[in-house]
Amino acid sequence: MAGEKKYKAPNKATVAEMRALFIDPVPDERKVDEALKHLKYLVEKYRPLMLAMESCTKCGHCAENCHTYLGTRDPNNIPTNRADLFRKAWKAAYTLEGKLFGKLVGAEPLSLDTIEKMYSYFYQCNECRRCAMVCPFGIDTCEVTFAGRQLLHWLGMVPKLQAQVGAAMYRTGNHTGLPKPGLVDTCEFLEEEMLEETGVEIKIPIDKPNSDVLYIPSSADFLLNPNTMMGAAKFFHYLGVNWTMSSEIAEAGNFGLLFDQRYTMRHNIMRLLNEAVKLGVKKIVWGECGHGWRTGKMYVPSMADRPIPVPIVHLHDEVSYYIRTGQLKLNPEVNSNPTTLHDPCNFVRACNMADTLREVITAVTTDFREMTPNRERNFCCGGGSAILYDEPEMYDLRIKFSAKKAEQVRATGVGEHGEGYLVAPCSICKAQLYPMVEEHQLGVEVKGLIDLVGTALYPPIKKND
């Protein structure tokens, strides 16, 4: 039968891990039937998906514009061919032309093998939407990947990584699985760190009642990207904002977007809205996380089960507003290393944030160099949608997916003397790029954007004298 290892794919979640997501995996002999049912349901429900199935002209323009194809030259990574995993089955089962003419019109009945292939190639897509941007019709293969992963989730086929993160969210309200004492401890540690660094007493509050602002950090910022957490704290402190985080939802990311846009996504969103009301805040401010902000900005309105109680904004939009209105005194000289910016796909192609990022970065650094292409035409880092797998063959794919990014960074010359900054204001981009800048020997250090805002607001004491 379809061998487990015929296609490169991340390890699947076990039955127990799937049951933690309230899914009973479908046995192989029923998979094709179930998949066909889900396929029909999804295609007939989501119009962008329907249009991807039915109006692609196969012009091929998307091929050279997908970094996963560029990095691997694997024909299945051409966006329209990725969509074909669905399209062929859709045509064969549910269209007249497919039933009559079969292969001639690109129809092919669904098989167990195709389902394995879906598992492989839908999890080789970074959901970066560059294909949608370049397609003459705007056909969004990311929508097909979303639907594909939804279908696989319902069959019980989810990578361990996504499944474990999803379950951690149910359990603790963040992806890292940190319980409240852990969060509080970390924050205290970071407070001390900031005191030592700047001489200023800056708080990082958790579950503080009567706050005005609820800050939603990426949970990776507690441990992996502490400078991002401290940067945000410095910014709020500077403006005297009465802010807090919540131990119930200390997570900007929403893996629901990435593998289950139903229960997992909604559960996370409702948790957020509940907390906002419980804490009585007036505004929710989102931290550095690309896919998370896409969810927060674009999917909360369509997923929420009740009206959204308070406005939801992004930290960078706030920072740029206060820069624009001249209310921040910044010392960009402290960030004088050659700096380039990686535009997170979700920020620039799905959240309108390209200008904002530039307004901020040019105000807090002195040697900023654009990479090309940039803004909405930027290429993904290769980690998008958290395909951050560590199994050797998947890790090898991550290196290939980031080849285009490496080429772009190198062309800016920021890393020539080994002291460049690569600003990547997205938690997943950071997780991907930390190892990738080493693999590609780029001579740069990966930074968050708000990290640099923090240092420009409160320069370290040592550097000041």
Binding site: S55, L104, I139, N242, R262, V310
Partner: protein
């Protein structure tokens, strides 16, 4: 054969075309736009979105930004196609004298009509050949093509070739008057009586009707897909107002009333 192609088939093919397209569009319409998946940068106003929409539909802007040679082939092909379809309609309606309305004499108008028709006929033929060449020559395009993708181009090439033969070789020529008569007879459900018809003309009509029958069941529906998909991803987006509660606002900026910003699509799953 002639009787079938000229008298019977047109009613069948037009019916299939109309019903098929409506069926397909109905199917699309019953699927919903559930989430807001606007592609950014998105303009804040409807006017701005309309400009983007028009630039995509009329000029293939995304294609232009990404691949100039594909853009040239595709845009020229479609521009010529649009003119040819338009030319068929006004040409047959006014017997080539349509340019009288912009002040030419009847003879000059006929000459212009013929010249334009011939030119676009040759242009589209070349553009189609280029697109076909591309399908064979560029590896990525080959990798994504199904047999039907080649056949569509061959079908169009067949139609255009017949058209050009009728234009360029007097022996196969068909006059505007003949075509007009034919359409009137068809439209009024009269038996078709035509003089000077030839094999090429019949073949041209047959291929066009095959195109009409295939149309609703093929990627040619991209004609409508363009409008439908752009309507989803080229929308305006209004950003929520910035400004944090409790922060004193500087004199230069007005106090912000916080609104839940951002146009969304009809929500709910």
């Amino acid at each position: 054969m002639e009787y079938l192609v000229l008298q019977i088939l047109p009613y069948i093919s037009v019916t299939i075309f109309v019903v098929g397209v409506m069926y397909r569009l109905g199917k699309w319409a019953s699927a919903r736009i559930v989430h807001n998946i606007v592609l950014t940068p998105a303009p804040p106003t409807l006017g701005g979105a309309a400009v983007n929409y028009a630039a995509e539909v009329a000029l293939f802007r995304s294609l232009f930004k990404g691949d100039k040679s594909l853009w040239a082939g595709a845009w020229i092909m479609h521009f010529a196609l649009l003119n040819i379809i338009g030319g068929h309609i006004v040409g047959f309606a006014f017997l080539g004298e349509q340019f009288k309305f912009i002040g030419t004499s009847a003879e000059l108008s006929k000459e212009m009509s013929n010249l334009l028709g011939t030119t676009f006929g040759i242009v589209i033929w070349v553009a189609l050949l280029y697109l076909l060449y591309r399908r064979f020559a560029i590896n990525e395009v080959k990798l994504v093509s199904a047999p039907a993708d080649y056949l569509h181009l061959l079908l169009l090439l067949g139609i255009v070739t017949c058209g050009n033969l009728m234009r360029l070789i007097p022996e196969y020529g068909v006059h505007y008057e003949t075509a007009q008569t034919y359409f009137i007879q068809l439209a009024t459900f009269q038996p078709v009586h035509l003089e000077h018809i030839n094999f090429i003309f019949v073949l041209h009509l047959l291929l066009v009707q095959i195109l009409m029958i295939v149309f609703p069941f093929s990627k040619l529906m991209h004609l409508f897909g363009m409008f439908a998909e752009r309507w989803i991803i080229n929308r305006p987006y209004v950003e929520p107002a910035p400004g944090l509660p409790g922060v004193k606002v500087s004199a230069s900026s007005s106090t912000t009333t916080v609104t839940a910003g951002g146009k969304t699509t009809a929500g709910g799953v």
